[in-house]
């Protein structure tokens, strides 16, 4: 099940969703065994912004039925901190590194893309467009024209593959995907989290410090499948499909819907080796043929 994605050779089609697996923290917790048997075919790092961010006030998490609502708020060390502290460690991973970046203006995104363009440790860049453009007030990835303008700005700054991480909180994600492709994106990834909310059981006030958050996990798997199929029908560039994947069969479904790679996200919080398990299950499924495989997906507590 080896795969080529935007010219990058990968051992299998399973990667992590940005922000759901921390290779540095995992190495610290699990030791060198993690590097010897790294669970993903490529590592997608947590979103990097130009300036450091503390993230949103707690509480940051709420367990939803078959999923999770998070309002983490993209805490990170900023571009300089990432280059100085994280990149040297991530360069030692046994798999290609994809860096996820986000800006609140096109200039910020351009700065990030240009900085990573000249780093050989970086195999590809993923643009997180699920944030408002502070100049226009529009969520960049919710609007095809905003997305196209952003990609047109970033495209000439690097020869590395540019992946646009689409938001499902758009009127028509497939139209945004098409706009990204026409503006020069090499791939799209979807879905990001769906906007959601939980109330404090006693006060009735929003539970999350950020008021609303992003819903992930098996609860959104059917939405992911539909959106990946819609996008695959509209674009020719490769797709990284994700949303609620906990098993090889879930990954296989997204591949059949048109994805080239599949990302495991929330499931890695429950089981840091979930990526390796999903890849192994997919390998087995492909070997015996999906038609002959047992119908019931192996279900975890969230499954």
């Amino acid at each position: 099940v080896s795969t080529t994605f935007c010219g990058i050779e990968l051992e299998h089609p399973i990667v992590n969703a940005s922000g759901t697996f921390d290779a540095i923290a995992a190495h610290r917790a699990f030791g060198d065994a993690l590097l010897e048997r790294f669970p993903f075919a490529a590592f997608v790092s947590k979103t990097v912004t130009e300036a450091p961010r503390q993230g949103n006030p707690p509480p940051r998490l709420w367990e939803a039925p078959a999923g999770l609502i998070n309002s983490i708020g993209l805490p990170n060390k900023g571009l300089a901190g990432y280059l100085a502290n994280d990149l040297p460690l991530l360069a030692r991973l046994p798999v290609p590194l994809i860096v996820n970046v986000m800006g609140f203006t096109r200039d910020q995104v351009a700065t990030l893309v240009a900085a990573f363009a000249e780093r050989d440790e970086v195999a590809a860049l993923e643009l997180n467009v699920s944030c408002p453009n502070v100049e226009s007030g529009l969520v960049m990835g919710a609007d095809p024209d905003e997305t196209a303008a952003l990609v047109r700005r970033a495209r000439p700054l690097t020869t590395k593959p540019l992946i646009v991480k689409l938001t499902p909180n758009a009127a028509e994600p497939a139209a945004v995907a098409l706009a990204a492709q026409e503006a020069g994106a090499d791939a799209v990834s979807l879905i990001n989290t769906l906007k959601g909310m939980a109330l404090h059981p006693r006060t009735g006030e929003p539970w999350l410090g950020g008021r609303t958050g992003g819903v992930s996990g098996p609860a959104i798997r059917a939405v992911a499948l539909a959106q990946v199929a819609d996008v695959a029908a509209r674009v020719e560039i490769p797709i990284v499909g994700m949303g609620g994947v906990v098993s090889g069969r879930d990954a296989d479904a997204l591949l059949q819907a048109g994805a080239t790679l599949v990302a495991v996200g929330t499931e890695s919080f429950r089981d840091p080796l979930a990526g390796a398990r999903v890849a192994a299950e997919l390998r087995k499924l492909r070997a015996i043929g999906a038609a002959d495989a047992p119908v019931a997906a192996p279900a975890g507590p969230l499954g």
């Binding site: 759901t20 921390d22 610290r28 840091p272």
Partner: protein, 40 residues
């Protein structure tokens, strides 16, 4: 708590030194450095 090993940043508490992850920077913190305890 989602991950339990420092990856998700879901368990942070506000302290004099900024947000600390209770799972890896704690679980015990010096009381004087904790700025506020979120209401249960």
């Amino acid at each position: 708590m989602a991950c339990g090993y420092g990856a998700c940043f879901g368990c942070v508490v506000p302290t004099r030194d900024g947000y600390l992850r209770l799972c890896v920077d704690g679980p015990v913190l010096e009381a004087a450095m904790v700025e506020a305890v979120p209401a249960a």
